[in-house]
């Protein structure tokens, strides 16, 4: 599998480290249901069979975090953005 890094160009996936689901958002610890929200944030996953937004770190390249949209059935990559600053370089 090759990941088209927006800064470095297409690179083998062994240059990257995988974190997981990029749609998880850290909950507000002051919210009334914070315990439940943190549990769901840490442990529960959609785990889709199909398009999945996921965080990859390009440790052997530009050392940037990427949000990769990838089909988990075919490993085809639909979109790659930087994780910071709304995907801008």
């Amino acid at each position: 599998m090759r990941i088209p890094c927006p800064f470095c160009g297409p690179r083998g996936n062994d240059e990257f480290t995988y974190l997981g689901d990029a749609t998880m958002r850290r909950p507000d610890p002051a919210a009334p249901e914070a315990m439940q929200a943190f549990h769901d944030y840490v442990y529960l996953r959609e785990n889709p069979s199909g398009l999945h937004q996921e965080l990859w770190f390009h440790g052997s390249g530009c050392r940037r975090w990427l949000v990769v949209t990838r089909n988990t059935r075919t490993h085809e990559i639909a979109e790659v953005k930087f994780a910071q600053r709304g995907g801008e370089a």
Binding site: G20, Y43, R45, R70
Partner: protein, 416 residues
């Protein structure tokens, strides 16, 4: 038909024309007491023990492909009970005891071979960690021996003992561990369940789960609707997908794990050996092929195939352990889907939906667990209470904090 030396001799005299299929091609009935979703080892073992141990025979096993087409035919066939934590060890030891009597119990040759599982250590710290695990095993009444370098060398003299970076200092040996023929395990359970009246329905994919007033009432499948009083899910690899039909969101990610077989060679390795300095394990099949594997690929996947960097990593670990492997050609490689749970341990539990039971999260250790998984899941479904040795394998342990994390890696599925 009971298999025995007499049935074999009788068939030999008749030119082997009288053998019958090991199980019927059952058509789905309108209603069952229990429907097991997933015709892998765990689902079939559950149906078998429901019929045999609990007398519940109005049971169907639904399989979206054919028996043996999934992870049951895609593993490295190792059986062992060398775990550290109390929530796991008693369960895997029950599995080991069931393996030891399995062939006589279901009258099928599963080629269970207690050839020993040897975990190598390469440093003083690793020796201490293995000694601790061995002591934990012995406290649970399980066999474990800590071997020094000379004893390991007598067993497997061709390994790279003088490796400059990872010299072999010794190993933790479980002599009762070993291998079993993975296909024969599912075939044996399928046949045993079928003989007791269980319907095994292949090419039948579940497309919906009906819930009324918080209680399951049946399923929609590609072969029509089926009513069910109780439903058990044993669909590791696709657990999130199937459970989402009942509105559940689970602490599971699906990952791909690759396994490898070399060309057949003469008998070379008569036990299972695991490398302690990298993730690599190897044994030899009765056909002569070396069977080995390593890490999962490490990212969510339903693709049933892996990528090249992990193949390279596994081969490098193999060469570091056993340099002679470089003279042998790899014959084939395949991928299976793993239910990676958040603490690396499985779940056998009720769900928030009454009548719906869950068996999942086997990570890459599901094969060895097959008999105990079926035994405990059948107990849970039949009596609506967990079996004592699986009582810690709860779905809500991420809420309670009573996690079973053998590696202490935390809630990061690809690290378990």
């Amino acid at each position: 038909m009971k298999y025995s030396v007499f049935s074999l001799l009788g068939q030999a005299l008749r030119g082997h024309t009288g053998w019958t299929p090991a199980w019927r091609k059952a058509e789905p009935k309108a209603e069952y007491d229990v429907v097991i979703v997933g015709g892998g080892g765990h689902g079939l073992a559950t149906a078998y023990y429901l019929a045999k141990e609990h007398g519940i025979t109005n049971v169907a096993v639904l399989e979206k492909g054919y028996i043996g087409s999934g992870n049951a035919g895609r593993n490295t066939t190792i059986i062992r009970s060398n775990y550290l934590l109390p929530g796991n060890e008693a369960f895997y030891e029950l599995s080991m005891k069931l393996w030891e009597g399995l062939e006589q119990d279901f009258n099928y040759n599963a080629m269970v071979s207690q050839r020993g599982v040897l975990n190598l250590y390469h440093s003083d710290a690793q020796r201490d960690a293995y000694a601790r695990r061995g002591n934990s095993m012995r406290l649970h009444g399980v066999d474990a021996e800590l071997l020094d370098r000379a004893a390991v060398r007598r067993m497997v003299p061709y390994l790279d003992f003088e490796n400059a970076r990872f010299p072999i200092h010794g190993g933790l040996l479980q002599r009762r561990g070993g291998t079993a023929r993975h296909d024969a395990v599912v075939w044996g359970y399928a046949r045993g369940a079928d003989m007791r009246g269980v319907d095994i329905i292949e090419n039948c994919e579940v497309t919906g789960i009906d819930i009324r007033n918080g209680y399951v009432t049946g399923l929609d499948t590609t072969r029509g609707a089926i009513r069910a009083k109780k439903i058990g899910l044993a669909v590791a690899g696709n657990t999130s997908r199937v459970a989402s039909l009942a509105g559940l969101r689970l602490p599971i990610e699906s990952h791909v794990l690759q396994a490898f077989v070399s060309e057949g060679i003469k008998p070379a390795i008569d036990c299972v050996v695991t490398f302690g300095a990298g993730h690599f394990y190897i044994s030899q099949s009765d056909k002569g092929g070396l069977v080995f594997g390593g890490d999962i690929d490490g990212y969510n996947s339903y693709a049933w195939r892996g990528s090249l960097p992990v193949i390279e990593d596994v081969m490098e670990a193999g060469m570091a352990l056993w340099p002679g492997l470089g003279r042998i050609r790899m014959l084939r490689q395949w991928g299976g889907l793993m239910d990676m749970s958040m603490d690396g341990s499985p779940i056998i539990d009720r769900t928030p939906v009454d009548g719906l039971y869950l068996n999942c999260g086997w990570c890459y250790g599901g094969f060895k667990a097959t008999p105990a998984s079926g035994w405990c899941f059948a107990h849970l479904i039949a009596r609506d209470e967990p079996h004592a040795v699986a009582a810690a394998m709860r779905l809500d342990r991420t809420v309670s904090g009573a996690l079973i994390d053998e590696k202490g890696a935390g809630a990061q599925p690809n690290l378990h």
